[in-house]
């Protein structure tokens, strides 16, 4: 099963190494990892997407909790949450396909952030299905490069984690 885990961590050197080591040392896999400061600059928030059976996920959350520099860990699995990822796509834009690319971008509420005579660079954000869909639609035009941020997630409702 795929799980999206959020962790509040002290913004200190070495924290990322500890977390990476926790996963690699046990043969657990990280699908994506996204880290940045919270409103409190001494604390960062991480969103980790990982896969494993119940036992593996239980170990991962417990091991994360055990790290001295980690303040809180939440596994969003089975709860209501919103996740989003941003993606930058550089796509070949010949005169024949330029209009089509613009239309697709528009449908997906994306933005063109860079233009050359031969290419467009598109910024889109959304959940997994949306990201997959736009990639599939743009593929026939010739995708030169894709950069993804990895997911960030937040719970639904008025409470924070």
């Amino acid at each position: 099963m795929r799980h999206t885990i959020s962790a509040l961590v002290l913004n200190q050197p070495g924290v990322l190494a500890r977390i990476a080591g926790l996963f690699s040392g046990r043969g657990f896999n990280i699908e994506s990892l996204c880290v940045a400061e919270t409103l409190d600059p001494s604390v960062s928030r991480m969103t980790i997407v990982t896969r494993g059976n119940d036992q593996v996920i239980e170990q991962i959350t417990k091991q994360l909790n055990k790290l001295v520099d980690i303040i809180k860990v939440v596994d969003f699995f089975g709860s209501e949450y919103v996740d989003r990822e941003m993606i930058l796509i550089k796509v070949t834009a010949e005169s024949s396909s330029r209009a089509e690319i613009l239309r697709i971008t528009d449908i997906f509420r994306g933005k063109i952030v860079d233009v050359t005579p031969k290419s467009y660079t598109i910024e889109v954000s959304g959940d997994e299905n949306k990201i997959r869909a736009i990639i599939d639609l743009l593929k026939p035009m010739g995708i030169k490069e894709v950069v993804r941020t990895g997911k960030v997630a937040i719970s639904r409702g008025s409470k924070g984690i």
Partner: protein, 560 residues
């Protein structure tokens, strides 16, 4: 008044109640060594940094206090890795202070620079690089707090040379407040209640007690629990001593070289109560065959230990002492003649014991088991015993009946040859008046033999009993059983003359080659107020039994 980092460090140690540290100097820590000359802290100069960590570890295991060592940067720091990993696996509280190159040089491949934080991250509970002398006191406070609380473990503090030299005002914090670290001590009441109900209902309950009982100082509570309800107890290697090994409810050790009765009891129990133990593979054997008919209650301070290797019916996260106290309270209100209720189960266990007791036959050549048994009898089980790793370790676990906690010092998790002798040094420093004996193998003892100079320098009367089989015996045993006796590189054809070696270091050397010499040798050694090596020339190809082959269920033991 401003103080240097070196002074601040030593005064902080003093405020943590540290009176002894183990170490080895070098350029990066020369400032700390300078400050040591004006400090009341006693420094024990070992001859290899690995031994400094093991000695601090032996000091910690025997006394319950946090052990401290101090080494220089680069090679000094890398030499601590085995000691850290040993302590980490066995949850021993240590603070290891390593020198580091000056902050401006870090990352430059400077002389004697090693990224010791990076190297040791997987084998420390936590680690710090102190970048500013102003953070030093607070870091030391946190290091001791982390090392000694929750599930204990080693903490490394890396100290750059310029931070040690820098000065600032010294204010030692009164308390620590760490957002990310709050170990759970108190067991959940509801879970305890559920466990209690299960315990009352069980027909064939068994306690499986590990090192956590010792580190939480819960032996008394465990003993009360077992005695009140007449529940038999089996121990892991790390748990030996937490329940009197001579008690009629004691089944001895379980697992790969556990007793027949202990392994049969695990296989047939209907309730297994695991306390401060972590279902290590050497304990469980094939996991499906481990306690196959039992409900399992697991009491442990470390949530990650629970449901890691085996499914558990009732997990209780908390300190063993706290949880057992609460369970004992509930039990006292429950009247019942537990001995007679348990009659059938206890009789069954007795029958297993009588069918296959631990046994060996002492003929012309000294049997290693005989040596251990005699050491036990002569010391009346009152000594602090350390072991090396291999057959010597297993025979010690089987034939020395540990009756008190903190009297067995052994590398259980990592299985580190070379641990026992320096650990004995640490224990002797903690308990100058006690008899401390390292029961060693001829291979292992040579891994930290240089520490004979340390015992000579500090007049430590540590005793070493070498079960000299001229083999890396445990590996030879495996080769014998599972590799058609192809003894590849396990014969120690050349070893020093241990008697002369002892003498060369100013210690005493004794040798026994015949069974009748065993007792006089031990008695003589114990009467000498100096370090003594006893070289017991034992049966070369004696094997440790029972043995559960790797991957087999516990009930499939190879017996003699």
């Amino acid at each position: 008044m401003k103080k240097t980092g070196g002074q601040i460090l030593l005064e902080s140690l003093g405020l943590e109640g540290v009176d002894t540290i183990f170490g080895f100097p070098g350029g990066a820590v020369i400032g700390i060594y300078d400050a040591l000359l004006n400090s009341p802290i006693r420094h024990i100069l070992v001859r290899h940094e690995q031994a400094a960590v093991h000695a601090a570890d032996g000091y910690a295991r025997s006394s319950g206090k946090t052990g401290v060592c101090l080494v220089t940067s680069g090679p000094g720091a890398t030499n601590t890795v085995t000691g850290l990993a040993t302590a980490y696996m066995d949850s021993i509280p240590l603070v290891v202070l390593t020198g580091q190159v000056s902050t401006g040089l870090i990352g430059n491949d400077a002389f004697q620079e090693a990224d010791i934080m990076g190297i040791t991250r997987p084998c420390t509970k936590h680690s710090y690089l102190v970048k500013d002398v102003k953070e030093l006191a607070g870091t030391i406070k946190e290091a001791f707090y982390i090392a000694g609380t929750g599930r204990p473990g080693p903490v490394l503090v890396d100290l750059p040379k310029d931070v040690i030299a820098d000065s600032t005002e010294f204010n030692y914090p009164e308390s620590v407040n760490m957002q990310g670290y709050n170990p759970t001590y108190r067991g959940h009441r509801g879970q305890i209640q559920k466990a209690f109900k299960l315990i009352l209902k069980a027909n064939r309950p068994l306690i499986y007690a590990g090192g956590g009982v010792i580190s939480s100082n819960a032996s008394e509570e465990l003993t009360t629990f077992a005695w009140t309800l007449a529940i038999p107890v089996t121990n892991t290697l790390m748990g030996l001593g937490c329940f009197p090994g001579v008690d009629e409810l004691s089944l001895g050790m379980l697992g790969m070289h556990g007793t027949y009765r202990a392994n049969m009891a695990v296989t047939n129990c209907d309730l297994l109560i695991a306390v401060g133990a972590r279902f290590d593979d050497r304990v469980t054997g094939k996991i499906d065959g481990f306690a196959p008919n039992a409900k399992i209650i697991h009491i442990d301070i470390d949530p990650t230990s629970i449901s890691k290797n085996i499914r558990v019916d009732i997990p209780i996260v908390g300190d063993a002492k706290d949880v057992l106290k609460k369970i004992n309270k509930l039990i006292l209100e429950e009247k019942g003649d537990w001995r007679s209720i348990r009659r059938e189960w206890l009789d069954q266990i007795l029958q297993w014991k009588n069918t296959y007791p631990l046994a060996y036959e002492q003929k012309d050549v000294i049997k290693p088991q005989y040596v251990v048994e005699k050491i036990y009898e002569i010391t009346k089980g009152e000594a602090i015993i350390s072991t090396e790793v291999g057959q010597n370790q297993m025979w010690t676990a089987q034939y020395y009946h540990f009756t008190k906690p903190r009297t067995l010092l052994t590398s259980g998790g990592l299985g580190t040859m070379g641990y026992g002798f320096p650990a004995a040094i640490g224990a002797q420093i903690a308990f100058p008046e006690k008899t401390v004996i390292d029961i060693a193998g001829d291979g292992s003892i040579q891994m930290n033999i240089q520490e004979l100079a340390t015992v000579a320098q500090y007049n430590l009367p540590v005793k070493i009993a070498i079960l000299n089989n001229r083999y890396l015996g445990m590996v030879r045993q495996w080769q014998g059983l599972f590799h058609n006796k192809r003894y590849s590189h396990t014969s120690l054809e050349v070893s020093p003359d241990f008697v002369k070696l002892a003498e060369a270091y100013g210690a005493v050397g004794l040798r026994a080659t015949k069974p009748e010499e065993v007792v006089p040798t031990i008695e003589k050694a114990l009467s000498i107020p100096k370090a003594v090596i006893m070289d017991f020339v034992v049966e070369q190809e004696e094997d440790v039994y029972p043995m559960v082959p790797v991957g087999a269920p516990l009930k499939e033991m190879l017996l003699v």
